[in-house]
Amino acid sequence: MKQYLKNTWDGIWTVLIGMKITFKHLFTPAVTIQYPDVKVPLPERVRNRLYVNIDDCIGCDQCSRACPVSCIEIETTKAIPGEDLGTTSNGKKKALWVTKFNIDIAKCCYCQLCVFPCPTECIYMTDVYEFAEYERENLVYKFSALTETEAVEKKANFEKFQAEKEAQKAAAAAKPKEEQKPVN
């Protein structure tokens, strides 16, 4: 009987305590915000959409190799001598045409592993986080500064150069003595 009354009392009393707490919260300011209108300021280290500053990219492929989900796809073509590709902002000389630099952001897992090995710090994560798209294809970001025709052209150029070089080499191999003669 004592237990019975105690149960009754416990039931009522703990309910009242709980009600007191929730009532107090009725008047505390809300912690949620009106999202698209109000936004939380992001910290500086925030990891969201990847961005590549292609002017600084030397096409070293290190980011692509670091990526655990293989979402970065890079193709490069060597520049032929005489073509000046300029230098990166930290003074490295570029020697490769980056004909393709695609990031499939839909695959990206935002681990930031690609950012650290970059020698020119040209790939980094920005604070843009609203980039929903209707089509999955639109999530493949193409960063290469070259258009497709240009890329084909560069590739052809290099192949031509390569072929010429091969031809030269072959020619040189064919008549090595005559080559050597002027030297002597």
């Binding site: 309910v15 300011p29 809300a30 009106q34």
Partner: protein, 355 residues
């Protein structure tokens, strides 16, 4: 009210229609406001904002929801028992709508001044059980079935303490008419039944604690009857997905919701009438004071709605504070705690009334 409109318009049909429309408007308004209030109360209790975009502080959110519900496709699974499945929401809604017929919003605004109002109210709200069972069975879903079974046993069990408390109040007031019961608690708040009723004397003070116990019992058991947390096990979200209306969508689902929120206000009204003076003002009537007597019914409507919504608010307050009971604990609460207390209470109130 029927009499008034009959004299005004001279047509029985029109008068009947208007008289019937009033409870309908009441139940719909109760549901609309109830849903909005639930959202806002829960949000603020949880340090959230709740709906904010449709109108000022999201005031039209329920209207927008209602429009969305109307537009929804009425998807019916092929395996359901179609007749029962379609009938169930109507039946549930009818139950709660019909209950509004006898609730006196003021001495003038009342669907029918039935002499057996309270009896009718208890009886008609049991109709909901049939609807819920039909919904659960016809859905052909195990979760629905479990929900419906739980619901049936719960509502039937909790009718007993409700009925006992109502009985004690009927015994005390000597009437079954809700309107008369309200009228007996007229004038000021110390005449309310919770404070021992209108008759002044020794018995009044003796009654107060038992009236409070009676109030708590009937409040808990009506809470259980309308399936609100902590007694929402028929639709226990985390166990039974959505209980008996798992398979419903669109307007049929909305009808279950409407009736739930309609019922909430109805049982709050019942509690108000039994213990808190019904539509009577706690502080006397302004209309009386300045001699404008036609103002009094309007004041009464205001007071009834205010009291009703206060108890609805408490229901929500409880819902957002408490966890949910288990089905066997629910039964033991009813049979082991509420019913014995209610019986003891009934006997004591009876003895005091006799004195």
């Amino acid at each position: 009210m029927y009499q008034y409109f009959y004299e005004l318009l001279g047509s029985e049909i029109l008068a009947t229609l208007i008289t019937a429309a009033v409870p309908l408007v009441n139940v719909l308004l109760a549901a609309l406001i109830g849903v909005y209030l639930e959202r806002k109360v829960s949000a603020h209790m949880q340090d959230r904002l709740g709906p904010m975009r449709t109108g000022w502080h999201g005031i039209f959110q329920t209207v927008a929801d209602f429009i969305k519900m109307l537009q929804k496709e009425d998807a019916v699974s092929t395996e359901v028992d179609k007749k029962l499945y379609n009938l169930a929401p109507v039946l549930v809604f009818t139950g709660s709508f019909a209950a509004y017929a006898v609730i006196p919003f003021s001495s003038k605004v009342i669907g029918t001044e039935a002499e057996v109002g309270i009896f009718y109210l208890l009886a008609i709200s049991s109709l909901v059980v049939a609807g819920i069972l039909m919904a659960g069975w016809s859905s052909n879903n195990k979760y629905s079935l479990l929900g419906a079974m739980r619901s049936a046993s719960q509502i039937i069990s909790y009718e007993i303490p409700t009925a006992i408390v109502v009985l004690s109040m009927v015994m005390y007031t000597g009437t079954l008419s809700l309107d008369k019961m309200s009228q007996m608690q007229t004038a000021y708040f110390w005449n309310w039944n919770i404070l021992g009723g209108a008759e002044f004397g020794f018995a009044k003070f003796l009654l107060i604690p038992f009236m409070i116990v009676g109030f708590i019992i009937i409040y808990i058991s009506t809470l259980a009857e309308v399936n609100r947390t902590p007694f929402d096990i028929p639709e226990a979200e985390s166990e039974l997905v959505a209980g008996y209306f798992t398979e419903y969508c669109g307007m049929k689902w909305a009808m279950f919701m409407l009736s739930e929120y309609g019922n909430m206000f109805a049982v709050s009204g019942l509690v108000t009438i039994l213990f808190f003076g019904g539509y009577q003002s706690p502080l006397g009537y302004f209309g009386d004071a300045i001699g404008v007597h036609w103002m009094i019914p309007f004041e009464q409507v205001f007071w009834f709605i205010a009291k009703g919504w206060f108890f609805v608010f408490v229901q929500m307050w409880l819902r957002w504070t408490l966890p949910r009971l288990r089905v066997d604990q629910l039964m033991s609460l009813c049979w082991k705690y509420l019913i014995p207390y209610a019986f003891v209470n009934l006997i004591i109130i009876g003895i005091i009334t006799l004195l």
